[in-house]
Assembly symmetry: C2
Homo-oligomer: 385 residues x 2
């Protein structure tokens, strides 16, 4: 591989300048460099403080782990302040023995740690409707990936004895709005977790401190934060967030409800909207993920989709986690359209925007997962296509 002119600068061999006074003291809890600016864009409703979202700034990020401080957020009633010593989880409804667990009791169960992506069902909703966004944070930022630690929900339920007629679990959060979602028993007994740890330390308040329901591969909203109640029932709750929101209105006018799984998608994060590149070698990099298992392939096109080449996937590629892909490119300084597409282990190939609209119609923008092209202009500026 060669690098374009301009990368290297020959100078005389003198020692670089540098400060010689002793540096700063140590801190009990580290912080970012003051040279790194604030990076998450916040959208909060004026009429309802605490209702809105903040997004992961993927254009500025590396690797696969999202630091907890930059994990996306989507809140419906603000962020509650919960004392873990007072927090309790009630499990009731169609069970043999309703129980309440303290955090100490929850933490005594065997623990598991897994790296999982989390994506809001409404990520990129504007991409479908034509309300396009200038950069990848705004268009794809409701996606993050962290190492979660907690306990198997199935294991916790052993002592409760869920009755055979229970088909749904209604999970409710302790936020002011008591945000609730109905989860099919199959998922509850498969890989659902109750998590209290994220990236090595306690969950952040914005991620559900002290306890969150974690449903690997499923839309973010169903992963109920600040979870304090699990009710087993023979029917769903039909809560606001599963009827008025997070349903998919098809092209025939019928709404699909309980569409939880986030399907395969990918996006180039660098170079991406609002960035500017110079001619020569330019690594193209981005993320791919699927709620159906493992990403098996990512292809990149630099000619508007006419031809595709295989990107390199960073190892290890974990199931239900983001995969980082990289693709070497030498930009010749001419206008170009770059894009990525992924394949997952089910054989699913990420569709184009037109293919997606053709299949689903354009009534609903939830679970939007089409290919995302970026235009590189002759001056090097990158914009949304």
């Amino acid at each position: 591989m060669t690098f374009g002119a301009g990368v290297l600068t020959t100078v005389s061999c003198k020692q670089p300048l540098g400060k010689s006074e002793s540096g700063a003291h140590m801190r009990a809890y580290g912080e970012r460099s003051p040279f790194e600016g604030p990076v998450r864009v916040i959208r909060e409703l004026t009429a309802s403080p605490g209702t809105g979202s903040s997004r992961t700034p993927h254009a500025e990020m590396y690797g696969t782990i999202t630091p907890s401080a930059l994990h996306f957020e989507r809140h419906h009633s603000g962020v509650p302040s919960i004392d873990p010593a007072a927090h309790q989880l009630l499990i009731h409804g169609l069970v043999d023995k309703p129980l309440v667990f303290t955090m100490t009791e929850i933490k005594r169960f065997p623990s598991f740690s897994r790296t999982y992506f989390l994506e809001c069902g409404g990520n990129s909703i504007g991409e479908q409707s034509g309300n396009t966004q200038p950069d990848v944070q705004r268009s794809h930022g409701l996606l993050s990936c962290t190492e979660w630690t907690g306990v198997s929900l199935k294991e916790v339920l052993r002592g409760v004895g869920v009755k055979a007629e229970a088909k749904w679990m209604i999970a409710e959060g302790a936020d002011a709005g008591r945000m609730a979602r109905s989860i099919p028993m199959e998922k509850v007994l498969d890989d659902a977790l109750l998590v209290y740890g994220q990236n090595g330390e306690a969950l952040r308040p914005e991620q559900g401190y002290p306890l969150r329901l974690l449903l690997p591969g499923w839309e973010g909203n169903a992963n109920v934060k600040w979870v304090h109640r699990l009710q087993f029932a023979d029917a769903p709750a039909f809560s606001a967030k599963e009827t008025a929101y997070y349903t998919d209105l098809g092209k025939d006018g019928k709404a699909q409800i309980f569409t939880f799984v986030m399907e395969g998608r990918s996006v180039i994060t660098r170079p991406s909207g609002l960035q500017k590149i110079v001619p020569g070698f330019q690594e193209i990099t981005g993320l791919a993920w699927t709620g159906k298992g493992r990403i098996t392939r990512v292809e990149v096109s630099t000619d508007g989709g006419a031809s595709w080449g295989d990107a390199v996937l960073q190892n290890p590629v974990l199931p239900l986690a983001v995969a980082r892909f990289r693709f070497p490119w030498t930009w010749d300084g001419k206008e170009a359209v770059i894009q990525s597409r992924c394949t997952d282990e089910t054989g699913f190939l990420q569709p184009t925007h037109d293919e997606l609209i053709d299949a689903r119609g354009s009534n609903s923008g939830y679970h939007y997962n089409a290919i995302k092209p970026w235009r590189v202009s002759a001056d090097g500026s990158v914009t949304h296509v």
Copy 2:
């Protein structure tokens, strides 16, 4: 698996109390819950501000990723504040073409992300000398594990043309003391990285912002922070930190110098010193790591080393990264001594303290990696043995 009495509490089925006012606003950069206290112990020399260490609080942590804010630190001249726009890396000495790179130029090379542990060569130095510590942060906290992103040093050196007679690379940091270490060419051309990213975002100032030398599996001190100069030479620099410190004085009175590799070791992080447990089910968990590749096995003993059982390793087990192990245990309320030992892919089995002293003598405490027993007293309190 069954859980001891006391885990579950039956109560009447009433909804837990909770606040009903709207929660807090969102923040551009997240923070921990105020219910989570400061967690790193700092030791700083009064006479030399900024000289000392802070340690990762493993007893309170989960999984395998250390958040950057809790990564251990060991500084010799404080933490310099460096503007990345002004930072430069000079490469000179036995090279065809001495060059200076800006951060922008460094970042144009193809990037790599890898999860690696980093351990100070002096971690647990007190365990050997008898200056024992009460908890696992103080005894084993100079160990952390993060996802690093950067560029291959070998790739950067292509344009410089290192001469055949160069046998050592002297890496110097931009801290006030110009901390420097001599690195053999074999490592430089093997897997050495220049890293600028950690856990998804820019390096923290305490970890070498904006650029650090990363030598996978090698003692922390050689991973020069704030790196601003790489000089190629036919002999090592014999700098202070590789002669007066970080050398291993053997039992025959001869010092071994340039002993970089951190050998296999493990430690139980929970339950551990200063913690208190109650009878019944108690998961034993901890970390294992080796600078020689991959951990293949961790065994746990709860009877003072008389018998051992295999712990479960969290998947994936990555080379040169920490492995999280877990071992189910039902504590009967009687005094017990618990400990772990690891095996790595070279077949190395972690030694006992006595075996280690027998082999190495007790003149030097660097690279101490013996088995660490914890005593559980009848009242449940856990102490150093």
